[in-house]
Amino acid sequence: MQSKADIQSHSDILACVGEANAPKFAFQEKILEDLQDGVYVYNCDTLKIRYMNAAARERHGWSAEELPGKRIGDTAATFNVDVFMRVMAPLHAGRTEPITLEVVHPTGPVEISTSLMEIAGEGSFYVSVLRDIANRKSAEIQKVQTVSTVSHELRTPLTSIHGALRLLKSGVVASLDQKSQDLVDMAARNTDRLLNIVNDILDLEKINSNKMDFSIEEMDIVDCIHDSVELVAGAAWENQVQLKIDSEILDAKVLGNRERIGQVMTNFASNAIKYSPEGGTVRFGIALQDDSIVVSVSDEGPGLAKDQHGTLFKPFSQARAADGRVRPGTGLGLAIVGAILQRLEYPVDFHSEVGKGSSFFFRIPPHLVKSVESLGARDAGNR
């Protein structure tokens, strides 16, 4: 009988499992072989390929006989073992969900889902399933373009309605009685809301179609955070919320885009203010952690129930706070924030506990931090 380590193809399986089990395994093997998705099984330590199904072999132009000696790195000229190992690290730290990445191959966009498989007496193997997503991607692009076109078309009439209502509201055209004034206020408020949604959709489309400016330059992150806090000071005052900066850093130069980071910060801050109780405090943290800079915005709001956590950064997924109250918003703010931070390569995350509040933060990784002047804890005082 053939050793398991030599399995490369259908006939090897038969040789390995013996005649008695052959029909069952042959059936499963046939399914695996004929899957439209490419399947790759390779050793976790050596990255040597143990099995590739027909779709995978065809993608790389390899025959079953050519597989012995090949490593997963041979599947793409751009394959970087260090980056791959870093990305897969969570699987070795207990993550049970596959790690899914979208990659642009020379043949088009593909989605690769990788999970870890332990085989007794054999060791650990990665199982990667590669799916061609060219059709899905083009459908997504078409969807975004349609939404964008509709948004453009909505903007023009909305601009006129917005302008007309602003003039009516101001009383420069005619003075209104109280009932009329209330109705005009309501119409104006809802027009603003619609315009915000349209603007957010256009922003999201600009990010997705690479039309938004993401030029990277050296910038002072502490200064940028202070500017963002200034920008939301008015909203904080209206909502009777205190703003506080807790910074361990006096000055830090990072690689980023000031305008985009400002957009992220004002978004986090507006949400935090919106969800804060009257008299509450919104804290802006700037801290150094393992050579990364972690920027956080924390509120003392109702927090988010666990079932709301998964969809927070998805478009139109406005979360319901744990107190059940819905705050005004477009449901696109965090989707925009998520897309911006992804482009800047700053990982984003949040903690939220019902009754205690939420904290949103992003991390500027060490290779994007150019210099840091730390001063220990500093309280910038209430604003």
Binding site: R155, T159, S160, G163, L167, K211
Partner: protein, 131 residues
């Protein structure tokens, strides 16, 4: 040129409703004298004798774009170098930088706030006067 207080504005926009709002905003909220045209061609044919101090042009218009109107009007000796402000939809903001580099005085993003656009234009005008 910009040292004089701003009084006369020539506005071109193909959207009838926007023209009504801009006229109210600039004449009633502000106190400018506004001459409006629904197209570049109409502006080119009707601008004579109006002696505008500033052009306010929509960017996206059929037939002649805002930039075309700007070029055509400022090609006349009496309007040469006339300060020009563009109105643009948000999605075209990559275009704003290009217009500024070509010499536009400012680019204002729609939707304009009719309560503040007059003061916004006045401020742009005064900054130019100081510069």
């Amino acid at each position: 040129m910009a040292a004089q207080p701003l009084k006369r504005i020539l506005h071109v926009d193909d959207d009838d409703d926007i023209r009504v709002i801009i006229k109210l905003a600039l004449e009633t909220v502000g106190s400018f004298e506004v001459h409006q045209f629904p197209s570049g061609e109409a502006a080119v044919n009707g601008a004579e004798g109006l002696d505008p101090q500033l052009l306010l042009l929509d960017v996206m218009m059929p037939d002649m774009s805002g930039e075309d109107v700007w070029r055509a009007l400022t090609a006349r000796p009496e309007l040469k170098g006339l300060p020009t402000v563009f109105l643009t939809a948000k999605a075209e903001d990559s275009f704003s930088e290009e217009l500024l580099q070509k010499g536009a005085l400012a680019v204002i993003t729609k939707p304009v706030d009719p309560m503040t656009i007059a003061s916004q234009i006045e401020e742009i005008w005064n900054q130019t006067a100081q510069g």
